[in-house]
C-alpha cells in the first residue's frame, strides 16, 4: 500500500503532468468605494481615524442616553464593564481593570466603541458622537480636562496611564520581515507562477501533517496550475527534456524564428567555479531589434528588460522548467500598453511558440 507521502507526491506529479498552462482566478477586485465601507480599523498611530471631532461635554449627553444603562451613570456601578477608576490597583490582589487603569491606547477605545457599541446597535452613533464619547470616558478617568476635545490629530497623542504596562511575548511581538525571495516588487512572490509554486510547495508545507497520518485534501485539488499571465510576470512551463536538451532545443527554436542569441549564461557552471553547487540554472539572452525597437520607441525604459531572457532550471524533485518574462507584464511595468498591443502580441506569440518547441514538442527519434 502506498504511504500518504507517496500518494501525495504521486497526486502532485500527476496533476502537474496533466495541467494545462492556464487556470482561472478566484474572487473579484474590490473597488475602493466598497473597501471604505468596511475599512474602519484604527491603529495606535492614528491610521484609520475618520474626520470629525467631539467634546467631553457632548460626550456626557451621548453617554447618558446610550451607555449609562449598562455601564453606570459615571462609567461605574453598572451591570456591565466598569470604565472608570482602578488606577493603582493592578498589582493588588483585587485589580480593577478599566479604560483608565489598564487600557494602553486611547485609539483602542475609539476603535472599540465605534465598531461594537452601543451593544444592541453597533455603529449607530455619528463619528462626532464617538469622538465625544471617547473624550468623556477619558475625562472621567482624569486623562482629558472637562473641556477636552478629540479628533484624528489629537486622539493618537493622548498618553494613557498604563501605556507602558505591557510585556509583549517575544515570540509573537517581533515578526521578522521575510527575506527577499527571487525578483519582485517586494511582494512575497518568488519567480514562479503563484499557483504552481503553491502546488509544489504543498507537500513541503504539510510535511508535519503528513507524518501525522493526515493526507491534505489538497492532493486532489491541484488542478489550477499556471496561467498565461501571472502577477509576478513569469511564465513557467514544465519541460519533458533534461536541462541540457531543453537548452539546446531552446537555442534551436530561437534561431529558427530568426532571432539572435546574445548570450548563454550557465549559472551552475559559475557556481562550480567558486566551489558552490547549484542545480542546473541556465539562462539564454536573445531577441531581435525588429521586435524590441517598437516597444522602446513607446516606452524607452523597456530597454532595461530587453533583450528577452529564458531560464531553464531543474527543481529539487528533478522536474525541469522553462521560465520567461511575460511581455505583457514587462510593458505594464513601464507604464502601460497603450499603442503597443500589436507588438506585445507578436512577441508573446513568438515566445510561446519557442517555449513550446523547447519543452514539449515530440522528441525526434
Amino acid at each position: 500500500m502506498l504511504s500518504p507521502k507517496q500518494l501525495f507526491a504521486g497526486a502532485v506529479a500527476a496533476a502537474l503532468l496533466v495541467l494545462p498552462a492556464y487556470a482561472f482566478d478566484f474572487g473579484r477586485p474590490a473597488s475602493s468605494d466598497e473597501i471604505k465601507l468596511w475599512d474602519f480599523d484604527v491603529r495606535p498611530d492614528g491610521k484609520g481615524l475618520p474626520d470629525g471631532s467631539g467634546m467631553v461635554g457632548h460626550g456626557k449627553e451621548v453617554f447618558a442616553e446610550n451607555c449609562a444603562a449598562c455601564h453606570g451613570e459615571n462609567g461605574q456601578g453598572g451591570i456591565n464593564d466598569r470604565l472608570v477608576g482602578g488606577q493603582g490597583t493592578l498589582a493588588s490582589d483585587k485589580p480593577i481593570k478599566t479604560v483608565g487603569s489598564f487600557w494602553p491606547y486611547a485609539t483602542t477605545l475609539f476603535d472599540y466603541i465605534h465598531r461594537a457599541m452601543p451593544y444592541q446597535a453597533p455603529g449607530l452613533l455619528s463619528v462626532d458622537d464617538y469622538y465625544a464619547l471617547t473624550a468623556y470616558i477619558l475625562s472621567l478617568n482624569g486623562i482629558l480636562p472637562p473641556d477636552g476635545k478629540l479628533d484624528k490629530e489629537t486622539l493618537p497623542k493622548v498618553k494613557m496611564p498604563n501605556r507602558d504596562g505591557f510585556i509583549p511575548d517575544p515570540e509573537f511581538s517581533k515578526v521578522p520581515v521575510p527575506k527577499v525571495i527571487g525578483i519582485g516588487f517586494g511582494h512575497d512572490e518568488p519567480s514562479m507562477p503563484a499557483k504552481r509554486r503553491w502546488a509544489q510547495k504543498g507537500p513541503a508545507l504539510f510535511g508535519p501533517l503528513r507524518t501525522a497520518g493526515i493526507v491534505p485534501a489538497l492532493a486532489l485539488s491541484l488542478t489550477v496550475g499556471a496561467k498565461a499571465m501571472d502577477r509576478d510576470g513569469l511564465i513557467t512551463i514544465q519541460s519533458r527534456y533534461t536541462p541540457k536538451e531543453t537548452m539546446q532545443r531552446l537555442e534551436t527554436a530561437v534561431k529558427s524564428k530568426g532571432m539572435t542569441v546574445f548570450a548563454h549564461i550557465d549559472h551552475a557552471a559559475g557556481a562550480a567555479e567558486v566551489g558552490m553547487t547549484l542545480r542546473p540554472t541556465d539562462l539564454l539572452i536573445f531577441g531581435s531589434p525588429k521586435g524590441g525597437t517598437p516597444l522602446m520607441q513607446s516606452a524607452q525604459t523597456i530597454g532595461i528588460d530587453l533583450p528577452l531572457k529564458a531560464l531553464v532550471w531543474e527543481d529539487a524533485e528533478g522536474h525541469v522548467w522553462l521560465s520567461y518574462n511575460d511581455p505583457a507584464w514587462v510593458v505594464q511595468r513601464h507604464g502601460g500598453a497603450a499603442g503597443m498591443e500589436a507588438a506585445v502580441q507578436t512577441m508573446s506569440g513568438a515566445l510561446k511558440a519557442i517555449a513550446t518547441e523547447a519543452t514539449s514538442a515530440a522528441p525526434k527519434k
Binding site: R115, Y119, F166, D169, V175, D188, L222
Partner: protein
C-alpha cells in the same frame, strides 16, 4: 463500563447532586435498578436484560439515545453557572462525559462576544486587502473551489481554567473547569493560498482578522512562518458546513493559538506592518502579573492536561479504576502524560490513544487499583517540544493569581475515604 465497582455519574445536569448511574437506572428501568441496588456484581443475570424488540422508525436525522444526556453548561461569567443561554457569554463542553477526542459538533464549546449570528452564505463576503498587490473580494463559493486542507485541531478559550486561579471550589465538575476546549476536524483554504492570490507585500508582518458579528471582533495575527504555514479559513466542521455558533459560513483557524484568534464569521483580512492593538489584544486577552504588568500577545495555548474521569463530583469505590483524560498543547503533539495517584510523590506513564495529532487533544488512560484511602490524583503532560505542564505552585509563582487567562497548571482531584472526587488546588 463496570458499574458494579464504581458509581460513575453519567447524567449530571445539576452540579450539586449528580445522578449516579444507579440512580439514573432506578429512575428509568425500575426492575433492573432494584436488582442492582440489592446485589453485587456477581449476582447479575442475563435474564434481566430486556428481550429484543423491533426498534423505532429510521430517521432523516440521527439523534442520541434517550438514555444519553449530554449538554453544554452555559455561564454568564466566572461562578455564574447554569444560566439561561440568553444570558450566557460562554457554554462549556461536557468533558467528563465525552469519550475519544473529537467533540461532538453540537457540544463544541461556545464563546461569543455579541451572540451567534446565522449569516446567509450567499450574501457573505470575505474582503482581503491592505498591503497587497490586489484587493480582492471572495464569495463562500470561491473559497470552496480552492485547494483545501482538512485538519483536526483543538480550539481553547484563552480563559479556560479560570475557576482555579485563586481558590479551588470543591463543587465543580471538569466541565465547569475545563469545558472551554474542544477538538474538531476543520476543512478550509490555507491562508498561504489567499496570501499568494492577493500578493502580500513581504513587509507586511501582521494581519487583522475581523468577524461579521455585531461586535466586529478583530485580532491582529502576527505573520510568523508557522502561522502562515498552518492557518486556514475553514468552512467545514466535522464533515459538514460550520455551525452558526462556530462562525458559519467561514472562520479563521490558527492551530494551537488562543481561541479568540480563530475569528468566527470572518469577513475581512487586512495586511499591515504593525499590530492594531484592538480591545481584545490589550484589555481582554492579556495576562496581569503579580507586579501589575500584563503579558501581551501570549498567543500560544500551553501544554495542558486534565483527568476527566474520575473527576470533580464523581464517586468511586475501592478496587479497579480506569483513569482517563485529555491532554493538548499549542506547541505540537503530546509526547507523554504521567499520572500520580499518591498526591504527586510518584508518577506513572499513561497510555496515549492513537492517533496523537499535533495541536489536537489526545486521550490518555491508565489502570489503577484504589485502596480506599484518601488521596489525590494528578496528571502532567509533556509535548514534543519538551514543554512540561507545570505544577500549580511554580505556575502561580510565575504568573501570579490575577492573570485570568492561560491557566494550565496541573489539575489535582482529591478523593476522600468515601470515594468522593473533588476539585483541589494541589
Amino acid at each position: 463500563m463496570s458499574s458494579k465497582d464504581r458509581d460513575r455519574p453519567i447524567d449530571s445536569k445539576s452540579e450539586e447532586a449528580p445522578f449516579s448511574r444507579r440512580r439514573f437506572l432506578a429512575s428509568t428501568t425500575a426492575g433492573v435498578a432494584s436488582a442492582l441496588l440489592t446485589t453485587q456484581a456477581t449476582a447479575d443475570t442475563l435474564a434481566d436484560v430486556p428481550p429484543r424488540e423491533v426498534g423505532a422508525d429510521l430517521s432523516g436525522h440521527g439523534e442520541r439515545s434517550k438514555f444519553v444526556h449530554l449538554a453544554m453548561l452555559p455561564e454568564a461569567g466566572p461562578g455564574k453557572r447554569n444560566v439561561d443561554p440568553s444570558d450566557a457569554i460562554n457554554s462549556k463542553a461536557p468533558l467528563g462525559k465525552l469519550v475519544g477526542t473529537i467533540t461532538p459538533t453540537d457540544l463544541h464549546y461556545e464563546r461569543s462576544h455579541s451572540g451567534n449570528p446565522d449569516l446567509d452564505p450567499a450574501k457573505h463576503r470575505l474582503l482581503v486587502h491592505g498591503m497587497t498587490r490586489k484587493q480582492l473580494v471572495f464569495t463562500v463559493d470561491d473559497l470552496m473551489r480552492m485547494p483545501s486542507i482538512t485538519r483536526t485541531v483543538f480550539i481553547e478559550c484563552t480563559g479556560n481554567g479560570w475557576e482555579n486561579w485563586k481558590k479551588a471550589d470543591p463543587n465543580l465538575t471538569v466541565q465547569s473547569m475545563y469545558g472551554l476546549v474542544s477538538t474538531n476536524e476543520w476543512t478550509g483554504v490555507p491562508l498561504r493560498f489567499l496570501i499568494d492570490l492577493v500578493g502580500k507585500d513581504r513587509r507586511s508582518t501582521w494581519m487583522l482578522a475581523e468577524g461579521a458579528d455585531a461586535a466586529g471582533v478583530d485580532r491582529s495575527v502576527p505573520l510568523t512562518e508557522e502561522i502562515m504555514d498552518e492557518a486556514f479559513i475553514a468552512y467545514g466542521q466535522n464533515g459538514e458546513p460550520l455551525r452558526p455558533a462556530h462562525g458559519f459560513p467561514i472562520r479563521l483557524i490558527t492551530p494551537g493559538l488562543e481561541g479568540n484568534l480563530h475569528i468566527k464569521w470572518l469577513r475581512r483580512l487586512k495586511f499591515g506592518d504593525q499590530p492594531w492593538m484592538t480591545r481584545w489584544e490589550t484589555d481582554r486577552y492579556t495576562q496581569l502579573l503579580a507586579n501589575g504588568k500584563a503579558m501581551q500577545f501570549q498567543l500560544r495555548m500551553e501544554t495542558n492536561s486534565v483527568i476527566t474521569s474520575p473527576s470533580g463530583m464523581m464517586e468511586i469505590r475501592p478496587g479497579y479504576q480506569r483513569i482517563t483524560g485529555l491532554a493538548w498543547s499549542g506547541h505540537g503533539k503530546i509526547s507523554k502524560v504521567e499520572i500520580s495517584t499518591d498526591e504527586g510523590r510518584t508518577w506513572k506513564q499513561a497510555h496515549l490513544n492513537h492517533p496523537v495529532l499535533p495541536k489536537a487533544q489526545t486521550r490518555f488512560q491508565m489502570d489503577w487499583v484504589w485502596d480506599g484511602k484518601p488521596t489525590k490524583i494528578i496528571s502532567r503532560s509533556t509535548d514534543e517540544k519538551g514543554n512540561v505542564q507545570p505544577d500549580r505552585k511554580s505556575f502561580i509563582a510565575k504568573m501570579g493569581t490575577n492573570a485570568l487567562n492561560h491557566y494550565h497548571a496541573q489539575q489535582t482531584w482529591s478523593i476522600d475515604g468515601d470515594g468522593r472526587v473533588r476539585n483541589a488546588l494541589a
